[in-house]
Amino acid sequence: MIRLSSLMPKAFLMGIVELVDMVGPEKTDRWILSIGKKLGEREGPGIEGARENSINYMPICPFANELIEFVEISGERPPQFMDIIKHTNKMREESGRGWEFPAISNIFCILHNSYRKQRAEMAGSKMLHLGCRSPLTKTIVYNDKAIEKAGMSRDDVDKVLEKSVCVFKIEDPKE
């Protein structure tokens, strides 16, 4: 049930669905990236989450509740979300710098990656998104190009995912 006080996150998700129908997944993807970047600029330099040396992780997905509730209300994952995810995955595979893209388990990963990347860059670091677990299906997805650049393996990522839902490597460009 949608209550007025919790309308806004659902409005954002519904906005994504509507925008994909209106302008397609490419432009919607750019819109989401732009939002994440601008919010990151406003928040300033930083790397949120738990940290063990150069590994950064999120113990819980900050967007999971909203996403699950939205999907439960909709009855299914809107296909428009998958359109954007497929578009981003294709760009990552075709790019020579695929490590810069997120590993996407849900639509919020695109927003989160853009926001987090911006804040990390302002802090003088780069973040590689190595993998994450879907809050909906529990499926694990990886960014193999990022994992390779980090000099790690999927097993390494799995170990961190045993206590988290989202794993990053902090790369200092000075190193």
Binding site: E43, G46, I47, E48, A50, R51, P59, A123, G124, S125
Partner: protein, 409 residues
Amino acid sequence: MNQIEALKLYENSVKILKNNQHENGGFYASPPGTRYPFIYPRDHSIDILGAIAGGLMDEAKKGLDFMLHAQKPSGEFSQRYDVDGNDASYKDLQIDGNGLVIFALGKYFEATGGSFFEEMADKEFVLKHWDTIEKAVEFILINKNEEVDLIHTVNSIHEYPAYEHGFEIYANSACCAGIFAAVKMGHAIDKDVSKWESEADTIKNAILTRMYSPRRRSFIKCIRVKDKSSNPIGYDAFASAVIDVDAVEYSPAYFGLINEHDVKNLATVKRIHEQLWDKEIGGLNRYPELWGRNNGGYGPWCHFTCQLANHYITVDNQDMAEMYLGWVVDMAHNYLLPEHISTIERFEMWLEDYSNAKILRDSKLTMIENTRNHPKWKDGLAYVTIPLIWPHAEYMRAYVNYMDKFQSQ
């Protein structure tokens, strides 16, 4: 109180403070390799106050310089930072950090001036950071609810939203005192701070009226309100009051908003002592056990015990001052102070509660192992997170005041 041991603890506290300041200026919450190797504005600000009490003015200035440069574009000071001053938080807003940083800066400014304030006070430093001070104050004020004139926060000193989400006493006292400090610094460097002065007076009045219960004769912990702009707040989803005792109900006097001798403060401290002094192992608990968030087992906290020691010192109650400060001295292990102390029984009770409820985080496993491996475990005590820097800073403040008050007589 064992005076020799008290002095040794003071001397080691000075060393601890110096050794746990990163070269960039941040005071670690606990040494690198232990539980909290980050810089938390809340702990860091008290460390600065400890440094000032111990005459470590260079360290205090360096610490302030670090933190003031770490301010977020919005004017907020985050929950925690890495050693380079980058936001590394994982919690929602903790606005007491804003108040604490400006409050600590104000204390540094006062201390540099001393008896020759006009000539000696470090006005250059305040001028250098004036834009940051302005943003910090304005950030506090945008979180003020216009209906009740109190500052809204999600977390406060216990990082426990269930009891702190809303208008909380520590956060409001810290923020109000921070604005008063900014006003004082502003006057000293000829800035127009009349608006802030008026705002601080308004907030102070709201704390002293809306957050004081005449029938209980105590300040109260929190007016729970979910959204800062709820108006009227009576219709807010959380609308309720937390009237349980909490050690930080002493905050209005701790931050100098009221006199230590004020009857409101004396009555509040009496209630805190009666309900939170640990009957089994001594020392001051932070809140009632039944709040059910007793990481590492319910038990007394060294820095809250030092805070009330300071109160008793100020009101000339030497017996109580020695009972409180002496407990801290007695419980130090190799002149190191833990975050808090529990018993094995309570520790295991907490572990059972959290394990059964499946709310035991992986990050607590190291703490559990360290606690069980600590030599005090064999004495039946759980020493949780040792050393923590914050209690050493609070101890330094209390010890210096104790010596000034009672040893000079």
